[in-house]
């Protein structure tokens, strides 16, 4: 008897590495940068372009830039770099406009409060979001207005709206846009889908009118025509007029977003609500709107981004928003120089970009989350 010969291997051999061209950086490069002759050419062209463009831009913004200076003299000497010292010197003006320096903590408080409330509303798993919504849409506008405008009863001196400016006004305009536009837009959207012909016609006319004309003409209209249509004593404040225009304008766009959400909703939801014996307001408030509004959160946020960028136009009616404050800051003779304007506009661009791009990312994230929920 001989021992059985065992042919089964007990230890596995070490794995061979994969071929160099099937994984890792080389394979990635081959698939994404050099997949064909044209692709290779494009890659080389872009690398050359980047080498030509990027280093000078980076040098302009960092190494060659003037970071701190008492006035524009240093910036005029260093003409091949940005003049960040200008932004630093004007930052307070850019944020608050001519708001009295002693009272600026009020602006900070309102902005911090608003940021906290928006965070509460936009964080999907936050507790008691309904309470947050009430605070944001009802309590916050009133409290914020009192804090900004001032109330002698509470020991807060009145600050005339003519002095408000800068980022404060930009955020305020956008916020008024959203706070008034969303409820009003929901009403308009419901009106447009109403079975009552007069209600439907009025909503359609309103929405299509405000969506059909440029925002500038609405601002002009609010500025020149609004004072004519109210009794002399009620003439709205100079800042209030564009805010009214902004609210009406954004309500029309918001209405179309909400209508999109209402249309996505299954008919069965309406029928189910009616079968439960809910009347129209309850059906809308308890069944339809919670679902429809959740579905259009990305659309609403995108709308808000557009709204925020549109706030730059209010300067046409003499309101000093962030961009207009920047334009005013350029006029300071102490800071005149060839690099000032480019620096200022790049800074403003970064400000808007960070804000809007962040919001856009958020809305894309919500959209993905919602899509996941709907698929299952």
């Amino acid at each position: 008897m001989t021992d059985a010969v065992v042919f089964v291997r007990e230890r596995s051999e070490p794995l061979d590495p994969p071929p160099t061209l099937s994984g890792g950086a080389l394979a990635w490069g081959r698939a994404n940068l050099f997949s064909s002759f044209g692709s290779t050419l494009t890659t080389f062209a872009f690398v050359a372009l980047a080498l030509w463009l990027v280093p000078p831009l980076v040098r302009w913004a960092t190494v060659d830039a003037v970071w701190s200076a008492p006035d524009g003299a240093l910036c005029r000497q260093h003409q091949d770099g940005a003049c960040w010292a200008f932004v630093a010197a004007k930052l307070d003006y850019l944020r608050f406009g001519s708001y009295p320096i002693a009272e600026r903590w009020r602006v900070d408080a309102v902005e911090a409060l608003g940021a906290a409330l928006i965070g509460w509303l936009l964080w999907p798993s936050a507790p008691k979001r309904a309470l947050g919504a009430v605070l944001f849409f009802v309590v916050y506008p009133v409290a914020g207005f009192i804090l900004l405008r001032g109330a002698p009863v509470l020991g807060l001196p009145v600050v005339d709206t003519l002095l408000w400016g800068g980022i404060l006004v930009s955020l305020l305009t956008a916020l008024v846009g959203i706070v008034f536009a969303l409820p009003f837009g929901v009403l308009l959207a419901l009106g447009r889908r109403s079975e009552l012909p007069v209600v439907r016609l009025a909503s359609v006319l309103f929405i299509e009118f405000f969506r059909g004309v440029p925002f500038i003409t609405i601002l002009f209209m609010a500025n020149t025509m609004l004072p004519l249509f109210v009794p002399e004593a009620w003439t709205p404040d100079r800042l209030l007029r564009p805010l009214i225009g902004m609210a009406l304008f954004s309500a029309a766009y918001m209405a179309e977003e909400v209508r999109g959400g209402l249309q996505l909703l299954n008919r069965g939801q309406y029928e189910g609500a009616m079968a439960l014996g809910l009347n129209y307001p309850r059906m809308m408030a308890l069944v339809i709107l919670p679902q429809a509004l959740t579905m259009v959160i990305p659309g609403i946020v995108n709308n808000f981004v557009g709204l925020f960028m549109d706030t730059t136009l209010v300067s046409i009616v003499g309101v000093t928003d962030f961009l207009e404050a920047m334009n005013n800051a350029f006029k300071d003779p102490a800071w005149s120089g060839p690099t000032i304007m480019a620096t200022g506009y790049v800074f403003a661009g970064l400000f808007y970009f960070v804000f809007c791009w962040g919001m856009a990312r958020y809305s894309a994230h919500v959209e993905r989350t919602l899509a996941k929920g709907r698929r299952t």
Binding site: T42, V213, F215, T217, F220, L228, L323, G349
Partner: protein, 385 residues
């Protein structure tokens, strides 16, 4: 009985609508009354009599005859023409750029698609007004003067006075050239119809593209051989301190068109990308299974389906471009809003009439575009069976 009446939805409907009509009517009547009182008190004209009054201001760009002796009505037409001019130049350019960037987004080359993404992200997330001011104040205004123009060959010059394009000067060959071109286009269309009919009948395809190109390029070329050049280009020339001749584009217009085109193109690129990606992958695979190579599959299967999704949002972007051209007022380009809702309104104080006319123009454009889009949708929408 009463309770039944209250609960009757039809009765309720009438009550609600009656209330709405009453509120809206009160708002309108009250507003009109206030406007009447206020305008009378401030001596603001109430009719359209200002239309025929002498405007007394000059406009630095007018396509139709205009001088400071012209009327407000003529100023309106100048403004409208300038608005339409920006649209007519901007829409083709932004379509080209937008489709190019959109296709670049879909490129398999990582650098190219990432660069296109960077382009769309930056331009879509900064305000158009900021971009326009940047191009106008920080770029165009800081360019060198006419003597140190940035020149593209001897033909195109860019300086702080604007952009100077070469102007065509028509020659003796122009009528013959035009006739040849028209004949070629008609012939190409007829040939395409014939080829299509034959393919439907016999299944044999004909090289439509090559033949059409032959017609359109060949016939005019023959015309040039016999009758001479149709036109020659004449570039601007430095004389004294400025460039003369050619087609001068004022810097305001250059900045406005450039800003609008690049901004709108970013949105169009996203529409193109989304449209192409929305075509189901099975369609591409089915086309490959039928033996169509990539070019044919794109042309016959992907593009027709993608265009159906692209065209509606594309037209609304065109409309946005027209509406956004009202930002001209910030860079001083004399468009409808700047001339009419700006200068004319300030001089005549007739706010209600001027704003009503201005808005009516934009609404008319919006409605016209909507009608055309509906016709397109009715013709090309998927006929589901």
């Amino acid at each position: 009985m009463n309770a039944a009446l209250i609960n009757d939805p039809r009765v309720r409907g009438f009550v609600y609508q009656g209330l709405l009509v009453a509120v809206l009517g009160a708002l309108i009547v009250g507003g009109a009354y206030n406007a009447y009182v206020n305008m009378a008190a401030r001596g603001i004209p109430m009719g359209f009599g200002f239309w025929d009054e002498v405007a007394g201001f000059d406009i630095n760009l007018h396509l139709i005859p205009y001088s400071d002796l012209s009327t407000y009505g003529q100023a309106f037409w100048v403004g409208l023409a300038n608005t339409l001019l920006v649209a007519a130049i901007g829409i083709p350019l932004t379509t080209l750029l937008g489709f190019a960037v959109g296709i670049a987004r879909l490129s398999p080359n990582w650098l190219l698609s990432r660069s296109a993404l960077l382009y769309t992200n930056v331009l879509r997330n900064t305000p158009l007004l900021l971009q326009l001011l940047f191009w106008y104040n920080a770029v165009l205004k800081t360019l060198p003067g006419p003597r140190q123009s940035i020149a593209l060959g001897d033909w195109i010059f860019l300086n702080n006075r604007g952009l100077f394009l070469p102007a065509p000067v028509f020659r003796a060959g122009a009528p013959g050239f035009a006739a040849a071109l028209a004949t070629a286009v008609v012939a190409a269309l007829l040939y395409r119809r014939w080829a299509r009919r034959r393919q439907e009948r016999t299944g044999r395809p004909a090289p439509v593209g090559w033949v059409a190109a032959g017609f359109v390029l060949g016939l005019p070329a023959i015309a040039i051989l016999f009758a001479g050049l149709p036109f020659t280009l004449e570039a601007a020339r430095l004389s004294g301190f400025n460039l003369r001749g050619g087609i001068p584009v004022i810097p305001e217009m250059a900045a406005l068109v450039f800003g609008l085109v690049t901004f709108t193109a970013a949105f169009i690129a996203e529409i193109v990308r989304a449209g192409v990606q929305a075509v189901a992958h099975g369609q591409v695979e089915a086309a490959a299974a039928l033996g169509l190579h990539r070019g044919l599959a794109n042309r016959l299967v992907v593009v027709p389906q993608a265009m159906r999704l692209i065209v509606p949002p594309l037209t609304s972007q065109y409309l946005n471009l027209v509406k956004n051209s009202s930002l001209a007022v910030f860079v001083g380009y004399p468009d409808l809003v700047q001339i009419f809702a700006g200068t004319v309104l300030n001089q005549t104080q007739a706010a209600v009439q001027v704003m009503a006319i201005t808005m009516a123009v934009y609404l008319a454009i919006s409605i016209a575009v909507a009608v055309v889009l509906n016709l397109y949708n009715a013709r090309y929408a998927l006929k589901e069976r």
